[in-house]
Amino acid sequence: MTLIGERERVEIRKILGTMKHPVKLINFTQTFECDTCLDTRQLLEEVAGLSDKLTLEVLNFTIDTARAAEYNVDKVPATVIEGDGNQRIRFYGVPGGYEFASLLDAIVLASQRESGLAADARAAVALINKPLHLEVLVTPT
């Protein structure tokens, strides 16, 4: 059974059609003690199937520890959005509900290599000159 319906597929294809450069999704998962890992993996597999520019790599969090450390991933399920060498946008948990739209948005922005920020915001962000970790805590509804 698929998680994404036929009608949604058409819409998602349209959104991903605005991608410019290739993007890779890296999904860290594990097989037990993770209620949402399976759904996350299936959802990402279905999304990745909807664009030629989108690929998915699935890694086992408990086995591929070196990769997890490389990406600084500390919990599952994790989805790293990698475009143009940038691996600094990640989703933790099932990217469902409202977060699904955010996921698609992030994929397209990473692909266009364009933050979409206004000039003022861009100038302010440029002032940050040391590592900064932002965690946006959300719920799916």
Partner: protein, 65 residues
């Protein structure tokens, strides 16, 4: 912001799936944004206000916007 500046890493976390984080970060409502695991920004702000609040926290820690 993470697309603009290579110093920035941005995570979106579905907090229901990580109850230990909800507790540690004292999440009473969403969205809430943690900056280097501290000093959260509560609620959704307009783009400019959000960016300014983050930059203020980073450049002048301890002061609120």
């Amino acid at each position: 912001m993470a697309l603009e500046n290579p110093n920035i890493t941005a995570d979106a976390i579905e907090i229901n799936e990580y109850p230990h984080l909800a507790q540690r970060y004292r999440v009473m409502g969403v969205p809430k944004t943690m900056i280097d695991s501290r000093e959260g920004i509560e609620g959704a702000l307009p783009e400019n206000a959000f960016v300014n609040a983050v930059v203020l926290q980073v450049t002048q820690p301890g002061q609120s916007s």
